[in-house]
């Protein structure tokens, strides 16, 4: 009841702020929706590999059972994943392994220099938050206490280079994992469409 009274007591300025907040949230949700559309488009293209690999086999009727199709398509997809993903995977392992060995040899296993360096390099933002319906939300523009700062110390160089060098192969590996998921989804979809027992097909054939 108190919350409702609070709503009634809102000034015009508060109401405008509230509307602006709702519009911003809707905009962010819409961007997420478009990101989903983009990811769906990419995964559709990645899943087309299954069609390329299985087209001749299905066209010639070598495989006529759903179970054989699933088994063979999954086998091909797995080997294709291995062929594409082993290089990024091992590059990532080498990067992370090298960094870990370096920390254990020269820093006695203390990773705090890594977090401290990134803490210094990244901006420190102070958000003015307030309670709104029991939720802490920002009520004003953020204040930058410190901006991006690169002092050029050895720790910062090591932290920065490690992250950049590791992130590239790791990204490629995650993209290959995504393609693996896309192929699995495509296999499942083909199972339910190509091998479907559709009575409409019978009526079309007899028409």
């Amino acid at each position: 009841m108190d919350n409702l009274i609070t709503l009634v007591k809102l000034t015009e300025s508060d109401k405008k702020t509230l509307i602006a907040l709702v519009i911003i949230i809707l905009f962010i949700v819409m961007i997420v929706g478009y990101i989903q559309k983009l990811v769906g488009f990419i995964m559709k293209n990645q899943g087309a590999t299954v069609d390329n690999q299985m087209y001749d086999i299905l066209r010639t009727g070598v495989i006529q059972k759903k179970r054989d199709f699933t088994k063979e398509a999954r086998r091909k997809s797995g080997i294709y994943f291995l062929k594409k993903a082993w290089i990024p995977f091992f590059l990532s392992v080498i990067c992370i392994g090298s960094f870990t060995i370096y920390v254990y040899i020269y820093r006695s296993g203390d990773f705090s220099f890594f977090t401290d360096s990134w803490g210094l390099m990244m901006p420190n933002i102070n958000w003015n938050v307030n309670k709104f319906f029991s939720i802490m939300i920002p009520t004003d523009y953020p204040e930058f206490e410190t901006y991006f700062a690169f002092n050029g110390s050895r720790d910062e160089y090591i932290s920065l280079i490690f992250v950049i060098v590791s992130a590239i192969p790791l990204t490629f590996y995650l993209v290959e994992c995504q393609a693996f998921i896309a192929r699995s989804m495509r296999i499942r979809k083909l199972c339910s469409t190509y091998f479907a027992k559709d009575v409409n097909k019978l009526s079309n054939n007899h028409a």
Partner: protein
């Protein structure tokens, strides 16, 4: 406006179900990592067994053989009265194989051979084959019987 709200709705669903998607993705990353780590064992196994670590296997070989056969003269084996040379210049039919689910199974279209004999272009014959008296085949006279008879 409809598109906007549709996209907002999809975005909201994506945000709500994002923990499931992230968990699913993480599971696949772990599965892929295990797959890569087990590859040396599978490779050693493939050296001693028939399970080769190749994308193409016996299914692809069979499919390639069938396609090769279709490409070199698929209709040659369909009918014995077609000369073997006739199939060489034929266009490969767009054949959709029977997948075991539709009935009747789709049959490959029949393309007549490009033989040297004149084709019967007279389509005005009646049901009693009144117009079917041309010399379209060797050893055939006008009454439709063989020339040696």
């Amino acid at each position: 406006m409809e598109t906007f709200f549709k996209r907002v709705g999809i975005g909201a669903i994506v945000i709500i179900t994002s923990p499931i998607w992230v968990a699913y993705f993480c599971l696949y990353v772990i599965f892929g990592t295990v797959l890569i780590l087990l590859t040396p064992i599978r490779f050693i196994e493939s050296l001693f067994t028939d399970k080769k670590l190749k994308i193409k296997n016996h299914y692809d070989i069979e499919a390639a053989a069938i396609l090769n056969q279709m490409g070199e003269g698929y209709n040659v084996n369909q009918s014995s009265n077609i000369p073997p040379s006739a199939g060489a210049n034929m266009q490969q039919p767009n054949y959709q194989p029977y997948n075991g689910n539709s009935y009747p199974p789709q049959q490959p279209p029949y393309y007549p051979p490009q033989s040297g004999y004149p084709q019967n272009t007279n389509t005005n014959y009646n049901q009693n084959n009144a117009g079917y008296n041309q010399n379209n085949y060797p050893n055939q006279n006008n009454n439709g019987r063989g020339g040696n008879q």
